[in-house]
Each structure stands twice: as C-alpha cells, then as structure tokens.
C-alpha cells in the first residue's frame, strides 16, 4: 500500500478532491443533465428534541420532496442540529461522488431544485411566481416568527423548550445546555425577544387571514398543482395543529379552509409525512 511520494502531484490531487465534485456538478447543472442523487438523507431531531419551528420546517422539507417525487430517506439523530452547517435541524444531504452537499435551509433547497427544473411550480407564470415568493416571505416573517416566539420567548412553552434541550445529555449538562441555548437565542434574536406577544399573534392572525383568502376554497394555492408554498403551509399547519401551543392553535383553527387544506385529499401524500423512513424510489432526472 505504501507508495513512494511524488510530492507536488500528490499534494495537488489531494487539494482538488474537494473542489472536483463541485466543479463537475456545476458543469452538470450548466449543461442541464443534473440528476437527483441516490441515497439523499434528511436528518432531523427526534420528536422529544424538536421545537415547533424545527418541526414545521422538517414537515415542509418532507412535503416538498414528496410533492416533487424526489427520493430521500429520513434519519432521526439526537444531535442533528449540531451536525447541520447552519446549526438548525433539519438538513438534507445529497451525496455527489465523494463529497456531500448539504441544504440546511428550506428556501435554499427550493431555489436549488427549481433552478434544476426538477421541482414544483414550473407551470407558474411570471405574476404567479412573484406572488408565490411574496407568500413564502409572509410565512417566513409571520408564521415562522410566531412559532419561534412561542417556542423560545412565550412563558407558557419556554419550560418545554428548555427541557427538550436536556434530552440525552449527562448531568450537569442537562441543566446547563438548555439555559446556554436560551441565552444564545435571546442575544441572537433580540428584536423578536423585545416584541410583545399580542403584536406577534396579531401578525400571525393577519398572515393566516391573507393565506386563507388566497387559498379560498381550492385544494392548493395554484391551479397548476402543489408548489413550495403548499409544502411550507402544509408543514406549518400540521406542526401547529399537533403542538401544545394553544394560542397559535386557536387562531389557526378559526381558518377552516387552511385546516381542511392540510387534511385535504389533494395532499394525500401527506400521509408520507408521518413516515420515519420511506423507501428509495428510482432516480429522477431533469427529463422526468
């Protein structure tokens, strides 16, 4: 196995191992023959560690991949948030050759997949596309912020959040880590921390109202079929309805069409969201 070294050539090849697959993939992307890789893995936290916003994003990830027909497998890991480059669960690992590409942000994944023309929303016209972006931003700014507020700042569920961080840790870390995470969150989200609950809830209500009006009586936001907005909304509604947050739940429950939307038959694939592992299906290419 031992090889006599040829220093410069070995060093160069060693340095380019990481860059090569990215370059090759960029080329694939550029010439339009990008293929969804086999063995994509979605890492997320187990239910006892998962906070409300993490659960909403995880369900959105799962819904989006299901709607797009992209094969992946679920992996539940107690340290999924620390494994993620952004420090947030969930994250999706796509294995290209020797090097993984990781998406820890739902919106990045959506733009990547849509750029490859693999995802949903290909049939939207220009106006619908900009509207679609605006509603996604609305969910990000209002619904997800309200869920974060509920999980970290609202006194009712703060204790539950802190205890979720103590899972699987030895003494005395089970007491130290939750508080260190809480104070870290507080400093990093000072603007949200200083807001009052009523304004956050009223913004949440306004956003639900706008989304409810936009959805109307149909089973998806756009006639052409489910899009990233449907996946995100489905994830958020599902997470809130199954959470212990009474305030968010009561507001959301008053919008029957949003609740029905989540339970509707158009999103029959939503049953798949409950899966802990789903079987891999055949590779999809851009032609499919």
């Amino acid at each position: 196995m031992a090889s006599s070294a040829k220093p410069s050539s070995v060093a160069n090849s060693g340095a380019s191992v990481g860059g090569k697959s990215i370059a090759a993939n960029l080329l694939d992307v550029a010439i339009g023959r990008f293929q969804w890789p086999q063995g994509a893995l979605l890492y997320f936290l187990p239910p006892e560690r998962e906070l409300l916003p993490d659960r909403a994003i995880r369900l959105s990830f799962q819904a989006y991949l299901k709607f797009s027909g992209l094969a992946y497998e679920d992996v539940c890991a107690l340290n999924a948030d620390y494994m993620s480059p952004s420090g947030q669960s969930p994250f999706l690992v796509l294995q290209f050759g020797t090097r993984p590409i990781i998406f820890s942000n739902f919106f990045q994944l959506v733009s990547f997949i849509e750029a490859q023309k693999l995802g949903l929303g290909q049939d939207l016209d220009k106006k619908e596309k900009s509207e679609h972006e605006a509603y996604i931003s609305l969910i990000k700014m209002s619904l997800l912020s309200a869920m974060e507020y509920d999980a970290w700042i609202s006194k009712a569920s703060r204790q539950e959040t802190l205890s979720s961080y103590s899972h699987g840790l030895p003494w005395p870390l089970k007491h130290l880590v939750p508080y260190s995470q809480y104070y870290k969150y507080r400093w990093n989200h000072w603007g949200l921390y200083k807001r009052d609950e009523a304004s956050v809830l009223s913004e949440f209500n306004d956003a639900c109202n706008a989304l409810s009006v936009h959805l109307g009586g149909s089973r998806s936001f756009y006639q052409s079929g489910p899009t990233a907005l449907d996946a995100l909304m489905c994830g958020c509604v599902e997470a809130i309805l199954n959470s212990s947050s009474q305030k968010l739940k009561s507001i959301l429950s008053s919008y029957d069409n949003l609740v029905d939307f989540c339970h509707s038959s158009v999103l029959s694939q939503r049953k798949g969201l409950q899966f802990i592992s789903s079987p891999s299906t055949a590779n999809l290419s851009s032609n499919q």
Partner: protein, 430 residues
C-alpha cells in the same frame, strides 16, 4: 597546601545564632521561615554557604520577591563579644499586580497573549493568573483563570485550580470546538521526576462543520462531558533545558475518563527525547512519541490522536497523516512517531543569542491508525511514513521555532503532503 587550607576553612565550625529576613511587608512570616530554617542547622562554613544559597533560591521560587540579597555578619552577645554568625536576607517584594503581553507570528498563523496576575495575594505565595490568548486568523481564543498555592508552605508541592474557556477551529478536521474546562491538580516531585495529578472536567461542544465534512465526522457533533483523572510524569535529566547536549527528557501521560460525563476512555502517551554531543557543539537528538487510546464508548474525533505537520512529522500538512474521510483528518487510536536530528552550530558567530540558532538535518518517521483489528495494529508498522529535510532551529524561551525544507519520502495515497518550506512553532517538537 592550598587544598588543605581550603578544606580547613570550609570545615571550620560555625554557629548561626541569628537568621533574619528584612523587607517583608505583605508576605507572612511562617512561609518565609520555612524556606530559611535550614540555615540555622549549618555546622560548618560549607554547609552555611550551601544552605544560604539554597534558601535564596527557595525564596525566589515563591515568586513573591523581585530581589533577594544575602548578607553574613557577626552576631554579638550582650557583652559585645562575637557570639556567632548572623545571616540576613534582604528582600524586595514584588508588586501585587503583574501583567505581560507577547505575540508570536508564523507564515500561516500567529497568536497574541495577554496575561494578568495577582502575586502573593494573601502573603503565602498564592497566585491568581488570567491568561488570554488569541490565535489568528480566526483559529481560536482561550481565556484561563488559574489559582496556584504551595501546599503546606512546601514550594515543591503546588496546588492548582483553574477554569478556562477555549474556542478554536480545527480546519484539517472541518469543525469548531468550544471547551469549558475546570481542573484541580497537585504538583510534586519524587525520585522519578515531576508529577502532576489532577481531575479535569471538560464540557465540549463540537459544531460549525464545513459543508463538505462527511457524516462519519459529523456524527460526533454536539455536547459531551469528559471528566477524567490524569497523571503526568516528567523526568528531565538534560544538562540544559534550553540547549541540551546530553541527557534525556521523558514525559508520560495517563488519562482515564469516565468519572461522570458521557466519555469513557483510557489514554496513555509517551514523549521522550535523548541528546548526545558527538563532536563539540554537534548534538545528535533522538525523539520518540507514542500514544494509545482505548475507548469504552465510541471514540470522538476530539479525543483521537492526530499526526502530521511542522511540529511532528515534517513534510506533511497539519494533521495530514493517517485516516482521512473525504479529505478531512479523522484521527486514530494509536500512533507512533520518531525523529532523528543533527544540530550544528552557526559558523562565524558568537554570543548567547546565536547559540540559540542552529542548523539541523532531520529524518522523521511515524504512523497513525485506527485500532479496529489486529491487522490495523500491524499496519502501524507496515505503512510507516517517512520524511527528511534540513533547516534552522531556534530556541526562544520555552518555545521552539523551525524553518525547514522538508520532503516526504514515504506516504500513503490519502495523506496530505506539504513538500518544501515549512515553518513551525511549538512548545513540544518531535
């Protein structure tokens, strides 16, 4: 005849009737008395001088005085008659507060140190020290607070308790780590050498993995608590700690983790150096390092050994030897490394400063591997890495600086090599 006179003088009986220490202000009498009491036991002149000089050293090592002067005088009785010898130590106490600032720089990184200490706080040589180190570019930051105190006035036995926090990046492994550490340790001397026994408790957090880091390294992410007992034995037999030409230095470390926390392992490490002067000022140095880790739960990347770089196996990138996962160092459970150096003095130079700078030619060899089977253990010898080169070696205080031209002579396909010029700075160098 002269020798006889000398013997007669040194064997001359003396009677020490008074020992006084002048200049004490904050320092307590009891700890000073303990250091100078042997002077009273002196029976002849030789003993008196030896004991007095030893007391001066002991007083200086309290780190409480900036100056210690010794005076001998006559001691007179009430009648004004000389009764014996009076020994006087005139001391000047250090200020309570001391601070220092220093910086090191290399081709790839550097660090700045800022330290602040309170000396002799309660008058019994206690010291409280705060050290802050910042390494750049963005490699890490350390803040440590340490309290040391002699144990029962005996300065050879030190009690030490410390708290610290370290944040650093480990680019070869693709992660960042935060460590919050506590330690309680005892230092003492025995016939074997200098011992350090201690309890170390580290709360570690691995996070911030690069995007390309594979899952096999990423799985170690998150919080862990290592609570361990550690024993370090240092035997130093060298003629000069800075520029040794004869003798050996051995450092044995044994650590057992698992007293609480979620990390369980036993780790043993040896570092030894031997020096021999083969011609005047031509010194041959041989060093050997080895380590073995026996994990009782799956080992984490921050507990495993790493090898390679300018301070260990020259000619390789930092931690560039041994198992890798997709270009990132994975570490191993066993390693060995050996280095043979020939140090030569700089020609046409003189003076203390130039003595510290020497040419050296070296050969380094070693290997690092995981210990999953017998064959992996045998591979430690089979897949030996080898490198050689020459350069300049400089000793500045306790730090060593090297500028080398190194060539890897034997390597494995997954190793990361760095042939050519390599700059290294460190406290321990292979």
């Amino acid at each position: 005849m002269e020798e006889g006179n000398f013997m007669r003088i040194t064997n001359a009986k003396v009677k020490v009737c008074k020992v006084q220490v002048l200049g004490l202000n904050r320092t307590k009498n009891d700890i000073v008395t303990e250091q100078v009491k042997d002077v009273l036991k002196s029976e002849n002149l030789l003993e008196l001088v030896a004991n007095s000089l030893e007391s001066v050293d002991r007083l200086k090592s309290l780190n409480a005085f900036k100056e210690v002067n010794l005076e001998f005088g006559a001691c007179r009785n009430k009648m004004g008659k000389i009764d014996g010898t009076a020994v006087t130590f005139r001391v000047k106490e250090n200020g309570l507060i001391a601070s220092s600032i220093s910086a090191n720089a290399g081709t790839q990184s550097g660090d700045a140190n800022l330290s602040f200490s309170l000396r002799n706080i309660f008058g019994r040589a206690e010291q409280l020290k705060v050290v802050s180190t910042t390494a750049f570019p963005q490699w890490g930051q350390t803040i440590q607070l340490e309290l040391t105190k002699p144990y029962y006035k005996d300065i050879t036995r030190q009690f030490c308790a410390g708290l610290g926090t370290t944040n650093f990046k480990q680019p070869p492994c693709g992660y960042q780590e935060n460590i919050y550490e506590q330690k309680v340790q005892m230092q003492c001397f025995s016939r074997l050498g200098h011992h350090t026994f201690g309890w170390f408790c580290d709360w570690r957090e691995l996070f911030g993995f690069d995007n390309g880091v594979p899952m096999s390294i990423r799985k170690d992410a998150g919080h862990s608590l290592k609570s361990s007992l550690k024993h370090v034995l240092v035997t130093d037999n060298r003629d000069d700690p800075l520029l040794p030409s004869e003798g050996y230095l051995t450092k044995l470390t044994h650590e057992v983790a698992g007293l609480g926390g979620d990390i369980c392992f036993s780790k043993a490490e040896v570092q030894t150096q031997m020096f021999k002067e083969i011609f005047p000022e031509w010194v041959l140095g041989l060093s050997f390092w080895g380590g073995l880790l026996k994990p009782f739960s799956p080992s984490k990347i921050n507990d495993r050994f790493l090898l390679g770089g300018s301070t260990t196996l020259r000619g390789f990138e930092m931690w560039g030897v041994g198992p890798h996962r997709h270009g990132y160092s994975y570490g191993g459970e066993a390693y060995w490394a050996t280095g043979l150096h020939l140090f030569l003095p700089l020609p046409f130079t003189s003076g203390e400063f130039f003595r510290r700078i020497r040419f050296h030619g070296f050969l380094t060899a070693g290997n690092l591997n995981e210990l999953c089977s017998l064959s992996s253990f045998l591979n430690l010898l089979k897949e030996t890495r080898l490198s050689g080169g020459f350069g300049m070696h400089c000793r500045l205080g306790i730090a060593q600086i090297e500028l080398n031209y190194a060539i890897p002579l034997r390597a494995q396909s997954h190793d990361r090599l760095k042939p050519g010029l390599q700059f290294g700075i460190g406290l321990d160098m292979l």
